[in-house]
Symmetry: C2
Subunit: 354 residues, 2 copies
């Protein structure tokens, strides 16, 4: 087995989920991530946990939608709830066999099943959990790379010294929380927001692996200024590029996009919350050197910031609500991040590197 | 998808497990049987059941043995028990990724885990369940065939009119139970046993799919005569061929084998029960035209009988106990099966074909 798969498994078990003796562990893998499921099972056992593996695939999910009547869609999966309740740790390995398998399912059906399973998802999120990626042809293709290139890409982002990364991210959180505001400055960009009473969270590879961001929810009506997002991103299968936004009293008052401006317009019109920011964040993972249109990676790219239109996280003490949460990323290599009177980042250097 | 996979799924759901609305269904599949897992999930949903898929693979099982300490091996898998208890129907799809993956695990470790999981297995067997096979390269290789040939082999055995097969098997059971004994006669063969108080079971594709046998447990000390098994079989990875046995008062008093006689000797010396018959059976599946050293198929070949040295099934009212149950098969195309004064089979014809 590729020794990187084994190293990945070790990080999941030892760092992200901290498996201890007696833990009941449920791993969700696809046929494309059998290797990682094997490696994780071994590491879980080594740590004294008991692994059990579910086969999750978009094609299986699709088959259920195709077969089930409206009645059947509403039946509560009791066996899944029992398993969820008696599990201590969930490890979700994302490694799709076909990312388009659910594309033509009626949205209403998805909504029905989402509602039926909400209780189970809530139980799941109340446990220890980790979401990670296993490089497979499907994801490589989405990222415009060969499998070999994509493996290098994923492992460069994932197999890093998380303890040290975490130390730096928590230091950044501590510094950011000394102040009551945040400012992103750079080419075509000067965006300000109050962060008073808000919490900065260091995402250090515990729930998302890889990770590498320190994020908060700005005080909703204090966002002022303009920003230019130079990294493309996906919304409902469409690529949006070169977004420029202007804010007044927290609301977008002017906007443009170099590509798919109509989609951007649609996002801004979804609801009141989608015209305000739910998140402002600093990407710190220097193992990720390029965007791949996969937000799990893109928003963590080192030397970037990102902002999300829409829903805010309660863990940040955010209050903005929306049906969407759309992340948009900006390279900061020529810019500055300033909190209160402190320079947090300037032209390629975080404050602890200056 | 190969329409035969869909037909197979239909038989599993409609005939073998009779899924009904509200059934909680757990499917165990390997990466090599993703296709059948998809097809079964769709049919389960169509019948109103809720499917959930486990990933079962020998490599994952092996990883647990490799990682776990003696302590960890003894930990009870609570999450697996919860899932098992709340499941109504189990569908096990056998489609190994590597049949040798567990070959070098210490037998003691297997024993420990077997004991720990016995409670779960007992719960499982108390539910509705079905064990089937999905043709994959691993099994094709074991059967000495190309994948294409092996697919034909499996589907010829499986995609048959089970309702009609069942009717014939139950008719045979009824006729066999009118009498108190059974006799197999043929080249180098004349074996007699009392079946008084014993039950004949018609295996008609409910638990095993494919199936096709009517079997009982003979009265242990009444087996008399000699028999020649012309079809090779496996025991612990060794092929045994051309076995001749002579019985007196139920016990083997003389034996030989054309190949691996030493292994046969070992079997007979395992315990007292391994020198007596635990099963006598009639194979009825004419869709299976050749042996493949896979007992799930071989013992069901049409126009054959088989006998098993060792443990008897309680469902037959059998009382012989042993650590092993070793099936051995004989072609009957030149022979006769007689129960009391009734000819059940003679030279290519079952009684209902005469």
């Amino acid at each position: 087995m590729d020794p990187r798969v084994e190293e990945h498994a070790k990080i999941i078990v030892e760092w992200s989920t901290e498996i201890k003796p007696g833990d009941m562990v449920t791993i969700a893998a696809s046929p494309a991530s059998h290797d990682l499921a094997v490696a994780v099972s071994k590491e879980v056992a080594r740590a004294g946990g008991i692994p059990m593996v579910l086969m999750s695939s978009e094609e299986i999910a699709r088959a259920f939608f195709d077969g089930a009547s409206e009645e059947t869609l509403k039946i509560f999966p009791k066996h899944e709830k029992s398993l969820t309740e008696s599990t201590d740790v969930f490890i979700f390995i994302r490694s799709p066999v076909n990312i388009k398998a659910l594309a033509n399912v009626e949205p209403n059906k998805m909504l029905t099943v989402g509602k039926v399973r909400k209780e189970i998802n809530d139980i799941r999120l109340s446990k220890r959990w980790c979401l990670t990626v296993h490089p497979c042809a499907t994801l490589a293709q989405q990222a415009n790379m060969s499998l070999d290139e994509y493996q290098d890409f994923v492992y460069n982002a994932t197999l890093i010294d998380w303890k040290e990364e975490s130390r730096m991210m928590y230091l950044m959180k501590e510094h950011l929380e000394r102040h009551n505001d945040i400012r992103f400055v750079g080419p075509e960009t000067d965006l300000y927001a109050s962060t008073k009473g808000r919490i900065w969270i260091a995402s250090d590879g515990k729930h998302n692996l890889p990770s590498g961001e320190v994020f908060t929810a700005p005080v909703e009506d204090t966002v002022e200024g303009k920003i230019y997002f130079d990294i493309p991103f996906l919304f409902q299968g469409k690529v949006i590029e070169g977004v420029r936004l202007t804010f007044e009293k927290g609301e977008v008052v002017d906007y443009s996009a170099e590509k798919s401006q109509d989609v951007l317009k649609k996002i801004l019109e979804i609801d009141e919350g989608s015209r305000r920011l739910g998140e402002m964040a600093i990407g710190t993972n220097r193992g990720i050197k390029q965007y791949t249109l996969n937000m799990l990676f893109d928003e963590k790219i080192g030397d970037t910031i990102h902002c999300a239109l829409g829903n805010a996280y309660k863990d940040n003490n955010g209050t903005n609500t929306s049906a969407v949460h759309v992340d948009m990323i900006k390279t900061m290599i020529d810019g500055e991040i300033i909190a209160g009177d402190e320079v947090i980042y300037s032209k390629g250097k975080y404050f602890y590197e200056m």
